[in-house]
Symmetry: C2
Subunit: 349 residues, 2 copies
């Protein structure tokens, strides 16, 4: 019997983080008697008077949203990190170690339309989201105490999203958080050795192999990474080794918007629901240094596994021991790739 990653349990390395994921190709067949999610596909109004993200409405803190017509951002009324945190440290025998942390949290409304999500917005509207991200990254990152800007989106109630109005968040802070910090180390090691970014070499191979590729356009590649952990995890990567969103050309930003809309359309078409996920951009820190090792990319971590209502639980073994997945990245890519890029709500069949 010859070992094959298609048939046999194995571990794969994520070269960007140094983490391993355990893959059990044979395990997708087990029956499911556990929790199913409720996936109410309610139809939402274009404007909801009770939504604190809709234009013209009053937020919980008392502020009134302007009558915005494309995107809109503001400081999170319940920021996890605050600007005026005093400096300070604790260290008792290396066992009780703490450090104060300053930061700024922002909310990013993608559109005034309460009822539309990224795959349903017109391309120029999606492009405006990219522009706002770039503007926020620039503004927040230029503050001297902000060394990292995390742009992200939680979509769907199952992902802890407390409001269906299409929006994302940014948490900007003093320290470099753990996930990007790991990637900084691994990308530096690779760049020092080869003089090229890890992801340029990686996507060049993937474009050749094709088995995990979803699509490409002139400037971006969308694929299921070889080391994907979530069942339908994907990644959007610029072909050029761009360090950060503000380094993208106008044309590249258009291509980014196109890839973002296309990928989320595939997702919605997979189970014909508004597909939940957490997504976010990993890119160079804003610590004032040059980061030739960094190759920006956007990640999508969707929780669903078998259907609109059965998700992958990262529990017990995964929490205590090791990340683990039940279908292979290749199977996931195959399923996503075979879907239409026309949104199911907009197709006439």
């Amino acid at each position: 019997m010859k070992f094959s990653t298609e048939d046999h349990p194995h571990r794969r390395l994520n070269p960007l983080t140094g983490d391993w994921v355990q893959v059990s190709p044979h395990r997708a067949k087990r029956p499911w008697q556990g929790q199913v999610e409720k996936m109410e596909e309610e139809s939402r109004p274009e404007h909801d008077p009770s939504c604190y993200l809709c234009a013209g409405n009053t937020r919980i803190g008392g502020e009134v949203n302007p009558d915005y017509s494309d995107t809109y951002s503001f400081q999170n009324d319940f920021s996890s990190l605050l600007e005026d945190t005093p400096e300070g440290e604790v260290n008792e025998n290396d066992l009780f170690v703490a450090k104060s942390e300053r930061g700024i949290c922002r909310v990013i409304c993608f559109s005034p339309r309460h009822d539309l999500t990224i795959p349903e917005l017109e391309l120029p509207s999606v492009r405006k989201v990219i522009d706002l991200w770039a503007k926020e990254y620039e503004e927040l990152g230029s503050k001297s105490f902000i060394n990292h800007v995390q742009i992200f989106e939680n979509k769907g109630a199952v992902m802890g999203c407390s409001n269906p109005h299409p929006h994302g968040q940014i948490w900007a802070q003093e320290s470099i958080p753990q996930e990007p910090a790991k990637k900084q180390i691994k990308q530096s090691e690779y760049f020092d050795k080869k003089g090229r970014t890890l992801l340029s070499d990686y996507i060049a191979s993937e474009l050749e192999k094709e088995e995990r590729l979803l699509f490409e356009n002139d400037h971006f590649v969308a694929l299921v990474p070889y080391w994907a952990t979530w069942p339908f995890e994907t990644m959007i990567v610029p072909k050029r080794n761009v360090q950060r969103i503000t380094d993208l050309t106008e044309e590249e930003k258009d291509a980014f918007a196109d890839a973002y809309k296309k990928l989320t359309t595939l997702y919605d078409n997979l189970f014909e629901i508004s597909f939940p996920y957490s997504a976010g951009i990993h890119q160079a820190p804003t610590d004032g240094k040059d980061h030739p090792e960094w190759h920006m990319h956007m990640l999508f971590y969707p929780p669903l596994l078998r259907s609109a209502t059965v998700k992958k639980f990262m529990v017990g073994y995964e929490m205590l021991a090791n990340a683990q997945r039940d279908i292979t990245p290749e199977q996931a890519a195959y399923r996503l790739r075979s879907l239409s890029t026309v949104h199911y709500k907009q197709s006439s069949s």
Copy 2:
């Protein structure tokens, strides 16, 4: 303004893993408009003819469970890891790296009673669970290709548990999974430097400080770790630096059972529901070496945050950047400590 971990956003270090957790003490107050869990407290029969874990019933694979009267274990019918996986490796330019992985997965029934959970079982029955864990650790660990034995329990539908019959699992395997591997490194560093286990020094301090302590008995301490990540995360630690469950004396095993039952009773009493969690034991690997640096401990990761129906979502920022919590470990310990150790279903008030 002086920095205080009670009031200000900060990061804390987990010295066992080297990971950081971000703490936002001020953030517990934000309103919740997101997903609520359904927590059906159905009353279950003592024996359920359709349950594949109940005594005498036929499992999906066709095997029939014996008429067991205390605990019962068997090989998982949908094992994630298999014994007969062929050896093999992939390495293409350090970018596509995979390794085959052998292992054995077992299911551990805690009791024939379909309707009772750990806090509701009599102490001698809980002790039998500890004995079975020890027996399985011994048997699996003595196989030459098994270097790590992960004992764990997923409790509750919200933790992906597909059957309410009280049970846990064991995944035993060739490699040391990531979480225990990190702890091995950190505990070794500490032991080499100080000649004592990290956790003996840590629990000695916690017993003095008391603010995160839940309770102690003759041989075990239960506490909320300084670096707890989940809202009501806790840890049970033997006072003696025991490397592994099979090194516990008879008396210590009784004390372990007592602590396990007491802690899960506090949990159930917190929101007066059968409290969901993933739990598991971290202990020395079964690689045939002595591990004086290892100090075994049992961890509990419960998902609930505010009530029986609102959980903490580890999503967006947490998945992409850094673990983050909203109430402090000290607040959580205070709430748990003030609860009765008599189970709410058994108290007569």
